[in-house]
């Protein structure tokens, strides 16, 4: 199971890299979303995907799944959610102000105002 998950995460990250290297800002934002998906899947996978009950003491099982990666992933999801929403608003503001969503046209140096 871990192997399948690793391959899936690999595909997600490869797609993310491809999208982030494109010119449109929106594609880049989608890329960052996929990148964090890949990273989160990896946290879950690297913690081990052994069978066991959900980490709730009420279930009274003999073994539980590892609760720590789930707590980590929850933290990482919220953080990347915050960053993504900020990034989207930033992209929207930049589109309004700079009248382009083409990263190639946003190249510039200090005197280019």
């Amino acid at each position: 199971m871990e192997i399948v998950m690793t391959i899936v995460a690999g595909i997600l990250i490869a797609t993310a890299v491809y999208l982030m290297l494109s010119r449109s800002i929106l594609r880049i934002v989608i890329g960052t979303g996929l990148l964090s998906h890949g990273a989160h899947l990896m946290i879950l996978t690297m913690g081990g995907l052994k069978r066991g009950a959900a980490p709730l003491l009420g279930q009274e099982a003999s073994s539980y799944t590892d609760p720590l990666p789930q707590a980590l992933i929850l933290t990482a999801i919220v953080i990347s959610f915050g960053v993504t929403s900020f990034f989207l608003v930033l992209a929207y503001r930049a589109y309004q102000e700079l009248k382009t969503d083409d990263m190639d046209k946003l190249r510039g140096n200090e005197n280019h105002e």
């Binding site: 990148l35 980590l72 953080i79």
Partner: protein, 493 residues
Amino acid sequence: MNNLVILPILIPLITATLLLLLPKRIKLQKLISVISLSFATIASIVLVHKVYTDGIQTLEIGNWRPPFGIVLVADMFASLLVLTGTIVSFMCILFAFRSIGKGRESYYYYAFTQFLLTGVMGAFLTGDIFNLFVFFEVMLMASYALIVIGGTRSQLRESLKYVLVNVISSALFVLALAYIYGLMGTLNMADISNKVAESGQSGILTVVAILFLIVFGLKGGIFPLYFWLPGSYHAPPYAITALFGALLTKVGVYAIFRTFTLIFYHEPEITHTIIAILAGITILIGAIGAIAYWDVKKILIYNIVTAVGVIIYGVALANETGYAGSIYYLVHDMVIKGALFLLGGAMFAVTGTDNIKKMGGLIKRHPLLGWMFFIAAMALAGIPPLSGFVGKVLLVQGGLEADHYVFVGVMLLSSLLVLYSVMKIFMNCFFKAEVLSEKEEQGSTKGLIYPSVILLALSAFLGLGAEFVYPYVWQAAETLMDPSIYIQAVLKE
């Protein structure tokens, strides 16, 4: 157990929350910022003293024993950086009082700086590697907001790139954490260090170490990961760039020190060689950038890159003199970068431009500003009575002890180039023929100079009072040299 350790994180956090409640009461915001930063400064002075007399201070949050709970650790290295960081940001905020402008002030500028401070102090003090990630994000989120606050066109353009680079590095950080958790099954740094030492640093751990180097290198701006830094730091106003230049990259540097002296020190012929090569190139790239531009801010920004290279090299030297030199240089660099950016900001306030060729003869009406800039330039290059000298001497000594002659050569050469780049600013802007007459000047330096006076006094103290500062630095270097001191303090075995 010592609640003192959490104060440098808690004070800015509470202040920031408080400041969110009063966005339009600017006078009150300033007052609260000053009070809170004074308290934070006092708390960090007490912390440094406490660590000096009683050894490493730890705080187990919620009374959970490490490695199960999060533990905050203040060793001398971290507490020195906390103290310097607090003082430098205090001065940056004092500078902002007169320079940042009403628009930015009423849109939570002071709250964001306090959040930034929370993140930076937390990153210095944490003893848990996932918690380090969280504090990195706190710091980065605040820096995203600060870099774009005001919303000018160039700020919007550069913040897009800045956010993207940091999102990628955060995702890589998460991946690295996933790997280290998968391999070691723990997230407490002292415990990871123990387990790595027990199992031996296998090939896969070295790979993870390199991944951490890439992540922290992206934050710290080492070659070849510094590409985002010149553009992003150029966009916001000087008060914000000074804060970034003094604090943000230094957190990446600190994290490299922490990981490579505490956890991944078993394969130095691979990891430390890579760090050495990258640091050497970083120094040169920064120096080349600094001499290439005719823009005050750009020159100062490339000097950040050079300094990061110099400091990182201390990790590769891996002897006590080298560590002591790096720590001394790190503290000095935070102070002097703050001072230089604030002086640059004062020059910008007068002339309204960053272009060196559009200034000249400023010394006539602004002698204090001019000679302060001169002293700061001397300190940056490492001229003896000032602070830059001690760190560089120790690094040269450490380099010679470790037979790294190329590094010593590169560093001394870079000092020359750095001196040239800042003297270029001094000679062209303050001497030469006068460009702007009194009426054409954009503003005055009223209230903008005294923060940098304080920082320069601190720099002079670091240089002249080296006898006083050195024992502290030496204690920090000892802890870096011998990870078992840190591990014992945290795990109490």
